[in-house]
Point group: C2
């Protein structure tokens, strides 16, 4: 043997299960051009309080830099964990001890740590159908059997959830009860009660992922599943949509026992999340007004939701079905059975417009006629004209003749 090539190694089985996220791949393509993107789940960057964070960063580094730049404990910066705990108490009347808060590198790391803690290959987990692609991607590293529970307009199908969790051991049920990714749906109060009743007294945990709960445009807040069944629920939150995702600061709320176990796994995974970012964020949260900031976020996203809603109504054929989301960042469209979303994407990319075909959000047989449209990250003017052009494309695909003159805009 005289080869100088890389060894013919066998990689771990898990490495063959995990695929790059389709979304991130098309986002990468989008980043290289002037695409109008409804594809990502990106917050609007002009909302980021970058000047306030600049002052916070300067203050932290000048006044406390030696500490903020040093290694720290794995659990996270204690004042930040206290802030998070106190905010739950203030806002949702949920008493949480700071010991029950683990700071993670975004919610994505929380998913990874939870998977590490619970999953051996072949274990059964339940998740909504459809569900967040990043969670599916993360879970697939641990080769579980993923059982999909149909997500109805009001919440997960209770019969399916009951049948599954009462017929075999299910490690956890992963759910996004508020303005779900990708569907934008929110579980009704009745659905929440039903979910909790089903899960209670099983050996199944609820993994409650709540990145969008604060992005509520209408209606009252509903109690979290965690507040209704704390001993069996692991609640995940993040500052990514509230403040800025580039900081990668999320958190997990769970029993002290679970937090201790997750902390050991986090220690083995990255020692701790950026100490500097945790302190900068804490300085921001205590020197400025997060609640005022969130008002601005909601206001802009609601406006964009309305613009997209009107544009869909004006330009898309009537056989395209959707609910109007009451929060979050996404519309979920059911196109007609004649339109495959992936084919539509290929054509729309040529027009400089991208979105995510819904098929990427399924574990089993996908519904290829669905599509996810993000509305948080596109300026209103561009949104209207782009939806108009997409409407034309769909109508062409449908073989419709149309007299709508769509370009240039009047």
């Amino acid at each position: 043997m005289t080869t100088t090539q890389q060894p013919t190694t066998t990689f771990a089985r898990r490495a063959q299960h995990v695929q790059s996220s389709f979304i991130r791949d098309i986002l990468k393509a989008a980043g290289q051009s002037n695409m109008i993107s409804f594809a990502g789940g990106l917050p609007e960057p002009s909302l980021f309080p970058h000047q306030q964070l600049a002052k916070s960063a300067y203050r932290v580094l000048m006044n406390n830099g030696q500490q903020a730049l040093q290694y720290t404990n794995t659990e996270g910066y204690l004042p930040l964990r206290q802030f998070i705990a106190e905010r739950y108490l203030r806002q949702q009347k949920i008493p949480i001890d700071p010991e029950q808060v683990l700071i993670t590198s975004g919610s994505q790391q929380a998913l990874d740590l939870i998977s590490k803690l619970f999953l051996d290959a072949g274990d059964v987990i339940a998740l909504e159908r459809p569900s967040y692609i990043g969670a599916i991607q993360c879970f697939s590293q641990y080769a579980p059997e993923m059982a999909e529970i149909e997500l109805r307009e009001e919440g997960p199908d209770a019969d399916q959830l009951h049948q599954l969790t009462h017929s075999k051991p299910v490690k956890f049920f992963y759910t996004i009860p508020n303005y779900q990714n990708p569907t934008g749906r929110r579980h009704s109060l009745a659905s929440r009660k039903e979910t909790v009743a089903i899960i209670k007294n099983t050996n199944t945990f609820i993994i409650e992922d709540d990145p969008y709960g604060e992005i509520r445009f209408e209606g009252e807040a509903f109690p979290s599943l965690h507040s209704m069944l704390p001993e069996q629920t692991i609640l995940m939150g993040t500052f990514s949509k509230m403040v800025a995702p580039g900081l990668r600061i999320g958190w997990v709320i769970a029993s002290s026992d679970i937090i201790r176990r997750l902390t050991i796994l986090k220690q083995a995974s990255d020692l701790h999340s950026s100490h500097l970012d945790q302190q900068v964020l804490y300085d921001y949260l205590t020197h400025y007004d997060l609640e005022e900031h969130l008002k601005g976020v909601r206001e802009l996203y609601k406006k964009r939701r309305d613009v997209m809603s009107n544009a869909l109504k004006n330009y898309f054929p009537e056989n395209v079905e959707y609910q109007i989301p009451e929060g979050g960042m996404f519309f979920w469209l059911h196109l007609s059975p004649r339109i495959a979303a992936m084919e539509l994407l290929k054509k729309s990319m040529k027009e400089g417009i991208i979105f995510v075909p819904g098929e990427t959000f399924y574990v089993g047989q996908p519904n290829v006629h669905t599509a996810r449209f993000n509305f948080s990250n596109t300026e209103e003017e561009k949104m209207d004209s782009a939806i108009a052009r997409l409407g034309e494309l769909i109508k062409k695909e449908e073989g419709h003749r149309t007299v709508v003159k769509w370009w240039p805009m009047p």
Copy 2:
């Protein structure tokens, strides 16, 4: 069933393998008091360029905050990857494409991603005996069979390495060739050549962890194993010891194929490392003089190495054996067969002094008479008197009568 307790769930098998690091546990204890600590591997915080980083952070957030606070690609901030690649070329004459650089959340995450890529339960890996506890902890999440290769003064035992890697499939050999943690040893040039000759044309990768290579007090730099066998070596670096660990910015150098595979796993693990920290660090690296900064780091650590070396010589019994490290952060002591380091630690903690018993750095049967002493993070004055007190303790343990008057210092 009417319990309201946490379900009697079975956690993943891996979660039972992983234990909290003893070091981090005693550091946590130390953080709560005025202990004099030789235990951690902490850099000296007064060296952190916190004022320059404050200016960098302010500049990045004011001028480019919208981008720096947004989600970004998993591979890392391209200018930072280019900086790292160019520095290897400039300093070590190694041509590296920025595509071959993956930014990670510290070296610890690199270890986790590499383990994820390579390890199924039961796979064989090799590592030095003794080795870095954080690596052992990380690997143990994936339940490999860990084969220890005795680390001699000049490098890993070549016969053992040859026998192992030529008798069965070994996924990788994990090594820290420069000023190893915990021993402070550096592989000689001859040892490096021998290691490479042994590994070449096997299906084994070398995982070369190099956090301390820049902290060189004496002698010439030796070529990295990566430079001698690039197609079979994955090289890990970090800014933790060069600039500041609180940022959690490390990197991996490997073939584009390996980087692509690691990137997919990183995407599933945390999407990306802090975008803000990557940009702040890059601004620092391009506005200030890293090489000048490193001179200051080397100078202070060398001084402390000398103080510890003199103190060990002055106060410890002659039967305590050690090499004087030519770089890095650690002394590795062999106490006499009558002294168990863990017992000594229990006594020294009562005197307010901590260090790490060497037994924590072994996978198999440990040498309980070894101890790791960090010298980077203790002021010179405190170091001298604390080593003197420890010397007294050791002499007491040995049953020696001594006439050395050690406190108060003259």
